[in-house]
Symmetry: C2
Subunit: 226 residues, 2 copies
């Protein structure tokens, strides 16, 4: 439940989902009670950090970026290791796409909770969606609910993790973005797995984005403004 003066921290990756969440949080908590956080974790597409900063500035919310050098040290995944090719082939052992960083969302949300803890913020907002095609197990509602309980126990804070997109398709997320006035901000978001701007249009992330906009019958501001 959201009380009158509650504050929210939005995990802002710079992509369309987290940007939609930023505007969702602004409409639910009020812009002045929303803060955004990004993570510089050695992602191949660092351009999304610049996008996140631009999106937060345009929205008028405070934005911080926390470094995480651990994933690069762990290595072995396509999003952080430049020796690994991005592909849609599934890992033969795990059945997961090779863009999977084990536990990435668990780490992001736990660090976000630590940041929130220090500032008396008890609402976290994350753009995870279990309808996501990739089937990342850390995007499932069941995982998020379990993590919320773990953080509540481990930090003794009454944290609440909001996932407004959890059951939405890409089409429905884009419709939500339109309905809450987040569509213009989509021009500043980044999606392409290959880090291209304008987007490559061929990687799985670009194709999924295009499909969502097409199904919603809405022009993608990132393409029309390019």
């Amino acid at each position: 439940m959201i009380a009158k003066h509650d504050q929210a921290l939005v995990l802002l990756s710079g992509g369309q989902d987290s940007t939609t969440c930023l505007y969702w949080a602004m409409s639910h908590f009020g812009r002045d009670r929303v803060t955004a956080i990004s993570f510089d974790y050695g992602q191949r597409h660092r351009i999304e950090l610049e996008c996140a900063a631009t999106i937060a500035a345009t929205a008028g919310v405070t934005h911080s970026c926390l470094p995480i050098d651990t994933f690069t040290a762990l290595g072995g995944d396509a999003l952080t290791d430049s020796d690994v090719q991005v592909g849609i082939e599934l890992d033969r052992q795990t059945g997961l796409p090779n863009t999977f960083v084990p536990g990435r969302n668990l780490i992001f949300l736990t660090f976000a909770a630590a940041y929130a803890y220090q500032r008396g913020i008890r609402h976290l907002v994350a753009g995870v969606a279990q309808t996501d095609y990739s089937g990342y197990p850390d995007c499932r509602l069941q995982t998020i609910v379990s993590l919320q309980e773990t953080i509540r126990l481990g930090m003794e804070i009454d944290v609440e993790i909001h996932t407004p997109l959890i059951h939405k398709s890409k089409k429905e997320t884009i419709e939500l973005a339109r309905d809450i006035g987040a569509l213009d901000a989509m021009a500043d978001t980044h999606t392409c797995y290959n880090g291209k701007r304008p987007p490559c249009g061929a990687c799985p992330a670009c194709l999924l984005r295009a499909k969502g906009f097409a199904e919603a019958g809405i022009d993608d501001p990132l393409i029309t403004h390019a």
Copy 2:
């Protein structure tokens, strides 16, 4: 349950508890199936990382050290922030000692699980004890059980987190160390919050250690060998 060829990853801080856990794991899994991991997270007492490396080498187990630069960026706690004095006074707001890093054990165990995931290791061993005087909420069994479930869901691995010291007093931990042949290794462990070697003997961690050895009626090899 431990199967015949299962491997274990021990979170080795270089302190007496995690060193006891290393020897516990060696006795339960066999030395060849045990790996140790430490975290370089900007702790004030970096000397414990050298201790961890020495302890692992003496024990004959593989040892890795993963960097985590995020806690220093988060700042605001006595163990990582050189502007904050270590003390036994409790934070007025949270009632926790000012050596508390919010979510530290959650992060350590989640990164350890990611490391284990990549290597097909499914047992984690951590030296947390809920009888610890400080009352860190992330050392409680309830938190660890919840985190185990979160990691199982979030990584889709059948991870098991072992906490052999969870209900033990310092006295009982030292008795266990004696019984499993870990006592000699205690000479290489580090406990002092002030990073002194030989230990300062006056900080809360040194006093707690001395009390444990005194109650067990065992000489501390760190003191007698110094």
